[in-house]
């Protein structure tokens, strides 16, 4: 009987995930093949025949490939420096470099425009000819690559830092007996974390491939922009779906490659006896030079854009106007992000549980579905949601903020489920088994044993869910019902006719709304963890 309780409950979670995530996509695909009530592949024929689509494909591939290459070239060494050396303020630098990933992508583009654009700060300082040059650079493939590079750099950086910590230190020590650090990193440490580096490459590629707001802002035509324009500007559903199909196909192909080549390639984690022991690279005479270099990089790609926004928005008037025009949207953002994070934590926890314990037969498939939805561009999920829920019978979802929350749930469950699965791997199965032997049913075991032991995953999952829901632009922009727009959407729509000062002030408000709660929550997490260790 208790077994049945568990299966029914977890089964319901799976069904919910499939309804929220997969059904909209199937509905979208189905509807794209129905024209005037008849089955037709006209939209796809048009897609293959159009030269423009191949241009888009070339643009999308070029953008993603360059961003992936650059983030890896800089992110992996940066991860090594911040994760393995005796550089001062390593943690502070890591937090600094993560910042652009936490805020809506286009805000980074706006800040670069305020600096390099034709009427930006550089134009004021160096005159028009220089500004023309920097403006042309920004509104091109190179500009798009540069902006996305600053946003996605933390992905390879963080994965490198995390996975370097999982290497058994004696493997590096054995190398150090015969070789310097450079040889050890090249021959041992980096090859051992190669699966993580490739995972980072895949994630960056997919996220750049699906990125809509930055290319749209910088007027660089790629598939997500085309799909969004077809849908929102022309309301041409079939064309929008057809433009989304290559995005789905590339995502599927890459995830399949990951499943085939990477999933079984991981090496065993370090033995528990070695936890707490790690080898640090002493930078010696290079310490100062590396510190200056990292500070400079952090200043250019993180601090400078924020400072530019602060300068641009200088004066209380801009902030007053910003709050007047977008105060409601800010509240919506905070409210939906909190609600989304709570649901993401709940659903992600049980999905993580069933993945870790393999309690349902198709656990691997469920894991793959969540990863697939996370990797899928937000515009595709948005169009899917509209396609499924835009009916007179489901208006209670479509015409309310519930549709936004469903979008968050579809796209970001992978994050909370993976966090839970990682935490559950640290908890001995005998904890739950002991409660089972003592006669506790599944729900009781969950409430009294598993959930309290997993509080770190729950809190970390909530923080991550909150941040990603708050920064979401693509899904929300497509699905928000009138009167329920969030701050990122409001800023994006105001960009068409708002003054640069107003936009800069709104961007600063958005950054503060993201970073302040994130910092507070992180401090809470840190305090609780430290208390537990003591």
């Amino acid at each position: 009987m208790p077994q049945l309780q568990r299966q029914v409950f977890l089964g319901s979670i799976v069904v919910l995930l499939l309804i929220v995530g997969l059904l909209p996509l199937l509905s979208m695909l189905f509807k794209s093949m129905i024209i005037d009530g008849h089955f037709s592949l006209e939209a796809y024929r048009g897609l293959l025949a159009s030269r423009h689509q191949w241009v888009l494909m070339r643009h999308s591939l070029a953008l993603s490939s360059w961003v992936t290459l650059l983030t890896l070239l800089v992110g992996v060494p940066l991860g090594v420096i911040l994760g393995k050396t005796d550089l001062p303020l390593r943690r502070t630098f890591a937090v600094l470099f993560v910042t652009p990933l936490l805020i809506p992508s286009y805000i980074v583009a706006v800040s670069w425009f305020d600096l390099l654009g034709s009427e930006g700060l550089l134009a004021d300082l160096l005159g028009n000819p220089v500004a023309q040059m920097t403006n042309s650079f920004l509104f091109s493939l190179s500009g798009c690559v540069a902006v996305l590079f600053t946003i996605f750099l933390p992905i390879p950086m963080l994965l490198t830092m995390i996975f370097l910590r999982t290497i058994d230190p004696s493997l590096e020590e054995a190398g150090r007996l015969v070789s310097g650090w450079f040889g050890v990193l090249k021959g041992i440490s980096i090859p051992l974390i190669l699966p993580a580096v490739l995972l980072a490459a895949m994630l960056v590629f997919l996220l750049s491939f699906g990125e809509f707001s930055v290319p749209a802002y910088l007027r660089y035509d790629v598939f997500p922009v085309e799909s969004f324009t077809q849908f929102s500007a022309f309301y041409h559903f079939q064309a929008a779906t057809a433009a989304a199909v290559p995005l789905v196909a590339v995502t599927l192909l890459l995830l399949l490659a990951e499943a085939l080549f990477l999933q079984e390639k991981t090496y065993p984690l370090r033995p528990s006896a070695t936890i707490g022991r790690s080898m640090t690279i002493a930078l010696g005479p290079y310490r100062k030079g590396v510190f200056v270099l990292i500070t400079l990089l952090g200043f250019v790609i993180v601090i400078l854009p924020i400072v530019v926004l602060l300068i641009e928005s200088a004066g209380m008037d801009a902030y007053r106007e910003a709050l007047d025009r977008a105060g409601g949207s800010l509240l919506h953002s905070l409210y939906y992000a909190a609600l989304g994070a709570t649901l993401l934590t709940f659903v992600g926890f049980f999905v993580g549980y069933l993945i870790h314990h393999r309690t349902v037969r198709y656990w691997r498939m469920i894991d793959s579905v969540t990863i697939f939805l996370f990797a899928l561009p937000g515009t595709v999920i948005g169009i899917g949601l509209i396609s499924l829920w835009n009916t007179p019978w489901t208006n209670f979802v479509y015409a309310t903020p519930m549709i936004i929350i469903l979008g968050y749930l579809a796209k970001y469950t992978a994050l909370t489920s993976r966090i839970t699965a990682a935490q559950l791997a640290q908890i001995s199965p005998s904890m739950e088994e002991a409660a089972q032997v003592a006669g506790a049913g599944w729900f009781r075991r969950m409430v009294l044993i598993v959930i309290p032991l997993s509080w770190r995953a729950l809190l970390a999952g909530w923080i991550v869910g909150y941040l990603f829901s708050l920064r979401d632009t693509e899904i929300t922009m497509l699905v928000y019902p009138p009167g329920y727009e969030t701050l990122p959407v409001r800023i994006y729509t105001l960009m068409a006719n708002g003054s640069p000062q107003l936009i800069a002030a709104l961007c600063i408000i958005m950054i503060s709304a993201t970073l302040l709660p994130a910092a507070l929550l992180w401090m809470l997490y840190h305090t609780m963890t430290t208390k537990e260790i003591k």
Binding site: D168, S170, L171, E173, A174, G175, R176, L177, V178, S179, G180, G183, G187, I188, P191, L192, L194, Y267, P268, P271, M279
Partner: protein
């Protein structure tokens, strides 16, 4: 000639003293076993000699040259000409047996032909010549141990450090490999510092036994003297 000398070496982690003014000398060609219970400072002694940690005070010298002193590492591990076999063997899982042995030779810039010859020689020495292309995960415990030994000896080190290398093996294999290690040392003549908490293993391998307790040297003498002392205790 003294291969290793430790003079008044102390080491502490936070508030726990691991080594307390330890002095020890090892002569060329000796097979010294450091014997003692867990936490007595045996492994830290090896790590100090290898150069992974620096002594808080005191001096460590190899072949008459100071390699670390008073909190400073003067010579990094790769310049100390020391080989080491780790408790878990620490074989690099992404490299084959041949590549594991070859790694150090490559790092030292030895020419390919000479490298290959040395790898072949080491494979024969440890009786692993049919396994060159296997990955560590495809080897038995004994084969992994032999590979680790071959890797440690490939650069003909002045000193071989062994950190409980038979700890994870079953009794039968453990006994067999003890004999093999002794035969190999006699054949190649390297100096050896072997760490264990197992008395039988210590007596089977050592020409000299050093007993440690709470970071201090408690006994230093021949195998017969050590046996006598332990019987008295």
């Amino acid at each position: 000639m003294m291969i290793v000398t430790m003079d008044d070496v102390s080491k502490a982690y936070k508030t726990t003293t691991i080594l307390d003014k330890l002095s020890l000398g090892i002569k060329e060609g000796e097979r010294v076993v450091l014997l003692g219970p867990s936490g007595c400072g045996k492994t830290t002694t090896l790590r100090l000699i290898a150069g992974f940690v620096a002594p808080d005070s005191g001096t460590v010298s190899i072949a008459g040259e100071s390699v670390s002193r008073d909190g400073q590492i003067i010579k990094p591990p790769e310049e100390r000409k020391v080989g080491m076999v780790f408790q878990d063997f620490a074989l690099w899982p992404h490299l084959s047996v041949k590549e594991n042995i070859e790694f150090g030779l490559k790092a030292k810039g030895i020419a390919k032909a000479k490298r290959e010859e040395q790898v072949r020689k080491m494979l024969v020495v440890v009786d692993m010549d049919g396994y060159a292309d296997r990955k560590p995960a495809e080897l038995s415990g004994g084969q992994q141990q032999r590979t680790a030994l071959a890797r440690a000896l490939a650069l003909q080190p002045k000193l071989l450090l062994m950190d409980e290398p038979l700890f994870s093996l079953d009794q039968e294999l453990n006994s067999r490999l003890r004999r093999e290690i002794v035969l190999l040392q006699e054949k190649l003549g390297f100096t050896m510092l072997y760490v264990t908490h197992n008395r039988d293993e210590a007596f089977a391998i050592a020409t000299r036994i050093v007993m440690m307790q709470k970071g201090r040297l408690e006994f230093d003498g021949s195998v017969a003297e050590a046996e006598y002392r332990l019987r008295q205790v």
